[in-house]
Chain length 331, copies 2
């Protein structure tokens, strides 16, 4: 039997496994022009939390009782579409189903010989492309500047930090354990790491780790760490608001110190970045990342959870910081 995972309840605060339901379904028969896909790797990402709310956003909310969708790498197991052959691998925004029928529209074929299939969901996928394009479009890093990255051991943050090193910047990462802060220095070449969970005064810790101030802050978390970063920005600093995992589960509108005073004082810019606004630049980003990957200038981590039925659990673990690098489910 085929299976799908649907949104059962809209989560209140942190999502729980009860908010999801695994259902047995019929796959059906493919018609002319269609293909049958078997999911191989499912990407779970913090931004999916936003789609679980019943509110207007940049992308429409998930419907109750319908499958969640995210980026998935799948193999073609049946084809009545001349453009796709059995055994080929594709990537696209697909339903959380073990198997699904598809027209092939908006799917991109993957070359297994260039990189492992899972890399197309991480360093060569939306997370790598996000790090690349956010720094390209907003960061505008100059040699010798200081880049501060939160969520530094995560899928986006670890790539952002390595791009900072390629651009000859001092790179400081904030993460949630000593293991992670050590790891980002050893594996990704960060110059310093701050464990926000054991640091009493994050503002002061950033000041110490960034003696020349912060020129670019790549924010994946929002909230109090963003406040602390703002206290340390230089004139003309760029704050990339790429994610806000610390507030995604808030049930009330979170408050904090007003930013407008410091933005004025420092002529600083704070800009939201959504990778889907930059589809025209994806190919350039993927080529740039693939080049660095090939030459060994960047590397990546994956946290892979096995088993389709564990997809909700993998998603929930994102909010517990249980992943290092890209969180994936392998079927």
């Amino acid at each position: 039997m085929n299976q799908q995972i649907v949104l059962k309840n809209r989560p209140e605060g942190k999502p729980s496994e009860n908010d999801f339901e695994i259902q047995e379904i019929e796959t059906g028969e493919i018609k002319a022009g269609e293909i049958l896909l078997e999911s191989k790797y499912i990407s779970v990402d913090p931004y999916l939390r936003g789609r679980m709310r019943d509110e207007e956003s940049y992308i429409e909310p998930f419907k109750l009782g319908k499958p969640i969708e995210s980026m998935i790498v799948a193999e073609i197991v049946e084809s009545k579409n001349p453009n796709f052959s059995i055994g080929e691998h594709v990537i696209g925004m697909l339903d959380w189903k073990k198997q699904q029928i598809h027209t092939g529209e908006d799917l991109r074929k993957l070359d297994k010989s260039l990189a492992p299939l899972s890399a197309y969901l991480g360093v060569l996928g939306l997370t790598g492309v996000t790090a690349f394009l956010a720094l390209d479009k907003i960061g505008n890093l100059k040699s010798g500047e200081t880049l501060l990255v939160s969520g530094a051991a995560g899928a986006v943050g670890s790539i952002a930090g390595q791009i900072g090193k390629i651009k000859n910047c001092r790179v400081v990462g904030i993460a949630g354990s000593d293991e992670k802060t050590e790891h980002i220095k050893e594996k990704f070449g960060f110059d310093a790491g701050i464990n926000y969970k054991t640091t009493a005064n994050i503002t002061k810790a950033i000041e110490n780790a960034c003696p020349d101030g912060v020129d670019v802050y790549f924010d994946n978390v929002g909230g109090e760490i963003l406040n602390a970063a703002l206290q340390n920005i230089n004139k003309a600093a760029r704050i990339i608001c790429c994610g806000a995992i610390s507030i995604y589960n808030s049930t009330e509108v979170p408050t904090g110190p007003r930013p407008e005073g410091i933005l004025i004082k420092k002529s600083a810019v704070m800009q939201g970045f959504l990778v889907r606004d930059h589809i025209q630049d994806f190919q350039r980003a993927i080529e740039g990342l693939a080049g660095w990957l090939k030459s060994g200038k960047i590397t990546y981590d994956e946290t892979i959870i096995e088993g389709f039925e564990n997809t909700p659990k993998a998603f929930i673990q994102l909010f517990e910081g249980r992943n290092t690098g890209k969180m994936l489910v392998k079927i």
Copy 2:
């Protein structure tokens, strides 16, 4: 006798006249290369409040017991400098003194035949240039977009709104009285006005006045009006943080709803603007404004308080919204 106005106490919260002191002083004799200036018009501006705090900012704090300085239009009444003649008028960052000795450095000569002297402190001065360059550098207004302006009856806001009309935008202004909201429509061509003092729900009022949403928000006030504006921004909106008069007198760090969520959702940019960072563009801005002034495309208001000794009072009245347009003191 000559007089000067010094900062006596650093204000706590809203400044009071007790924070200033008028002192009788000797003028002294001018030496070779120097000129004697007589102040004609003194500009009082909200940003001066920031310099009254004893904290590092983009410009050094005023010293206790020393004269305040701001932009002043002065007449040359004595000269031992061959570059300046008696009867000429100049503008520059000068002390709050009736008369002062100066080397002439960093002073700019004014042409009384082009515009009234007071205009060089307003529409052709820092406030006009601020409106022009903030819209030029950050606003990037496109025909048909909606521009929302707070402090719309003020010196910067009234010029910003008129530039919005020149760019074929829908322009909505927020101000603190029905007289002001009527005035900005009648005199400056705003399409709609919102009296924030009598409007129970500013967010809803902005939504009603901006049926296509807000593309550019020119913020002169910060605080709750900024929150309300953020609730109404369109995709790729630009929020110009130009002033924050509503929080300048705060004794504690003011808090408010966190902006990062909405900045991400809307791919919006929130950018601080300090006119002094753009000195290389001043001439272009002044020429642009002077052209529009001459062709009748822009006009301006002044609130002129008479008497040197009333300068502190004029400054304090800024925070009471007692001015329409540029607040000046005439000596």
